[in-house]
Symmetry: D2
Subunit: 357 residues, 4 copies
């Protein structure tokens, strides 16, 4: 099993890249919430391919149809299901992939898991396309969070060799958040944009791809959210983040850097800002003992380089049980970090809403 | 809620540092499995404090009593509960901590979460001591995994400035695993041991603490385990790993390093080793699309420096609602990385067994 | 929340009577199972209205479209979602029902639960129509069970004053099962059919409705399925059965009759039938301690009379906060017992498959 | 698996009749609730055997020890675990039962389920004794519900041939509830007491046992609690009720009687009692569409006759694979209905609290 998650807010995801439709059911939404459909489409378009040279030319209409749980412009509180029809499918491109396993993709592990019965076309259920319904659901969750003055944002921390600042180095507020929202490559150091673009385009030119890091920040979240152990904020968010294809690492606050630091450099000292409790630093990313302390939640997620590359790669043919090299044809993303940004924000919003409902 | 987790194997954890007892219930164990109690005690003693200068002098007997689910030396298959009585508690040490919040600990976030009703003595339910039952459960899971020829091991990848090799640089096998098992600081480069010890003792001398990274490797796991999305191996393991106090980051395979790499450097190319499918490299840590590919599972976990340090720190007094600096008295661990090793292995074993049952 | 259920097999249901579509996602199906679509349509047509004078004239096409998890005629093992478009909707009929609460329906309880934001047309998410996706899912589960030689069947035990025999009075086998399958009113005493038909038609003539009891039998199930306490076969099946609208009681084996009996009359004595363990009687309905004993599983479910009746009823107008009597117009079922038969079998099949996977 | 249940309030039960201890962990309790320990002991003593001639002479101290989640007399909000040590165990009595299966008990189904590794002594994990922790947890839940003016009560509706009134025939209020609380056989018709006692004692004299029905009523519950489908109040309560050993049927409101009634006799007509919505009757037991309507929740549970009887019974010896008759020695309950009353109330309170938290 794989497609259902949640406690107070539950989601159920389904679909394959080249099947009839992909979609998601969201259960446990508050009743009577007025959904801003335009905003959903904007968010989904941030994820959609075909917008610039940075991503694949495949066009996905990504137009969701709400089937249930939505009445007179508002959530009813009963399960809300939305589907997105698949189109612009070049199924022929994928014939060979039934037998020859693409390195870095789930072709082989998926084939074993499903005894060869999975829909292999375009990666099937493993396709990044299945994150579109996550963005649909996440957009609604973000809207609900924003109605409670909680904002989820992110920037591209790194692509290849180019690195952006950390959120902890700026005063994260609504102004910064609205600036970041409209960018294909949301950045704290604007001068990085061209450099990052070049990293991607160089990889593309080489028939290769490049990875990156997304940093996410959540402001407006009160202290006391989450639980120790298995419902910790970190466990909840990491669970969802690692569900996103291509995510290979998650860290909160200073994360892996803490291995080289002393306790005195990692502890966040407290003070009273009038009535409000704050910390001078936010090395722990707003979470202590699995529970929010009222400071912004900060975490970073690494997105691996797109496995689909134009270079010839060594591989195997599982039908003929022999080695066979492979050159992947067709349209590919030289980098998916920028397309993953709304996906990461979406699962963070879904996880957070589940925790605070 | 916080204390229950699992699908096919479920655990329920309970206890506070200074309460009557801590413990765990394990539900869904196979029937008729002969438990090696001596091995459990060994594993628990790896986690226990008081063994060397590297950890606190607090003595914890850590002697588990099995209450149920165990009959004539074997698991019955019904819920197995074990408890560990608390002792050697210096409750007086903690009087002040009711009001003055220790930076880096869950004192403040926990106080808000539980409206001030949580047992604050020794960190209460947030205490690292509550990981002892996890090691109890994890030891049983490791024994069951070993009966299926699956082995969970780890080494200290980094403490402070001292770094060990990666598992991907050696041929991970049972010989290496048995060597690592008996070490307080399990290392691939033995010469690192004294350097790491010095890192810790220097931090101790300074009234400070130091963090580190644990790398975990799992061999013998077949391909096809796990699911895409919400029951991915990465989601399952990360969920549990982030439940462990002090864990602030988790990465699989090359993890965050992938941000600076190309697709051609991250993809693991396949070949047939006789009948068996293998990859030349293991950059993805044995997991693709959330599912095992038959190569060893490799992941790294960062452990933050112990927040309890002897240095004076700025903080707040929440009873009097004012700033108040704090100097933590008593016995502390200058480093908990070495004690966290069996905990990390334990939750990995619990997560893995849940996936393969 | 409401729409998701399951452990090893999970379902997620959605839809409203007059929304765009209703549907279900099934997660955890075995891979490579060849689905018999014709059989699904037959089963769904058993539930569909408009077939005889015994049920409402509302026509529902009930044609499911599979969106995912299905490839080249077989299950892939990834989530299988199917939707059924709504049609033949007389939404105008329901205008008044926004304010005046139909007795026996969920109009009032649902209005309070969803703060008035639920889709009230045709009962919305509470409509019996939402059981169509359950029959879709249940049909697949029944097919899978039958491939393992497990058969789920049922007969109408009672409608109004007319009572059929018990399954325990006949030797339940595949012959009886195939006879029962094709009947609108499946009965062990065929002479009952006209009497039951008359009970229903008399109620219809009076502008009233009538209830009944369905007895379900499952053969071929091995001993040792289920668990004590919260995953007992009885808990699992009862949970699902009480999810079906109109079910107000569930009993296993002799059920409520046991209150008047002695232990010696309820215990099922064992014997060896060659190598096989059997009991002389089956008063406990094949379940002891929550676990199957190898005898047929037998349970009865009471279906309340359709709440929609033509008679004038006292009620309230919640918009105007005053008493207001109500006469429900439109097409109604004088009895839904016969239409509930495939629904009861379906949830039993879903529950059972979850337990044995 | 078997021992864990819940959504917002979770319980984890463990133990065997003749093991070291039995117990329960409750996760998700509100923080700072002051527990009345005396009341818990009273409730547990209602369930305990040895009080009168109506039940077995086995003495169980049933003294719970709280291990965690409880600090300075109040719940902390972290998991609360309590254990009860086993004592007065006559393990020798059970030697024979390893091989000869007691009819009506879980000996055989449990043996198959656990491959013969379950603790068979005294029924092991299947023993009615394991309901003691449920009463412990249920008592706390009842206290919390009472703090919100919600009361759970019950009476013995039937034992053998003697029948009590229905709750729907009286005006259920706090006065009746406090009267019922102190009775070994809580009854609405007090004259029934001696008759019921005689039913039990006659069965005892015959070396037999007798079953009965418990009706449970819950007042003070607001409208709008529960959900359609899988989190319906009926599904939630039935799931827990069928977890209790010996329960073979559950019905809400008029339940099975509805099969013989018309819609006009089952629908509950509404009226305004000043501002408050009420129904003239309560045939649906306070639940419509799975959701409370504000009227008392009413349900009945049938308890089968104790399977342990002194009469000789036909059975099998599974070690020798042959038929072998059996005469159960030792102390037995001629009726467990009266002891089951606090258990039924407890699981109802647990289920209800989970729904309203």
């Amino acid at each position: 099993m794989s497609g259902m998650w949640g406690n107070k807010l539950k989601i159920s995801i389904f679909g394959e890249s080249h099947g009839n439709a992909i979609g998601i059911t969201i259960d446990g939404l508050p009743t009577g919430f007025e959904i801003n459909m335009e905003n959903i489409l904007e968010e989904m378009s941030r994820r959609a391919p075909g917008k610039s040279k940075l991503s694949t030319a495949r066009k996905e209409s990504d137009k969701p149809e709400i089937l249930s749980g939505f009445f007179e412009g508002k959530t009813t509180g009963t399960p809300l299901c939305a589907i997105i029809r698949n189109s612009d499918m070049h199924s022929k491109d994928y014939g060979k992939l039934k037998s020859v396993m693409r390195p870095g993709h789930a072709d082989y592990s998926g084939n074993i898991r499903y005894n060869g019965f999975n829909d292999y076309r375009g990666g099937g259920h493993f396709s990044g396309r299945i994150t579109a319904p996550l963005v649909f659901a996440g957009s609604i969750c973000k809207q609900i969070l924003e109605s409670k003055d909680i904002y989820v944002t992110s920037h591209v921390k790194r692509i290849g060799k180019v690195e952006d600042k950390d959120f902890s180095e700026v005063k994260l507020n609504k102004d910064i958040i609205s600036e970041l929202r409209n960018e294909e490559l949301p950045l704290l150091i604007k001068d990085n944009e061209e450099k990052m673009r070049n990293e991607i385009l160089e990889a593309k030119k080489d028939g290769d791809s490049v990875g990156g890091i997304i940093e996410c920040g959540i402001i407006g979240i009160q202290a006391g959210i989450g639980d120790p152990f298995f419902d910790s904020v970190e466990s909840t968010l990491a669970h969802l983040l690692f569900s996103v294809p291509a995510v290979k690492g998650v860290e909160f606050g200073k994360g892996f850097e803490m291995a080289s630091l002393r306790g005195s450099e990692c502890n966040d000292e407290y003070y009273y800002d009038r009535e409000e409790v704050k910390t001078y630093t936010n090395n722990n990313g707003g979470i202590l003992g699995g529970i929010t302390n009222g400071m912004p939640i900060l975490f970073k997620t690494v997105i691996k380089p797109t496995p689909s590359i134009a270079k010839e790669q060594k591989s195997i043919n599982i039908s003929e049980k022999k080695d066979e090299s492979l050159k992947i044809e067709g349209r590919h993303d030289p980098c998916i970090v920028q397309r993953a940004v709304p996906v990461i924000e979406s699962v963070a919003a879904i996880g957070l809403l589940d925790l605070i409902l």
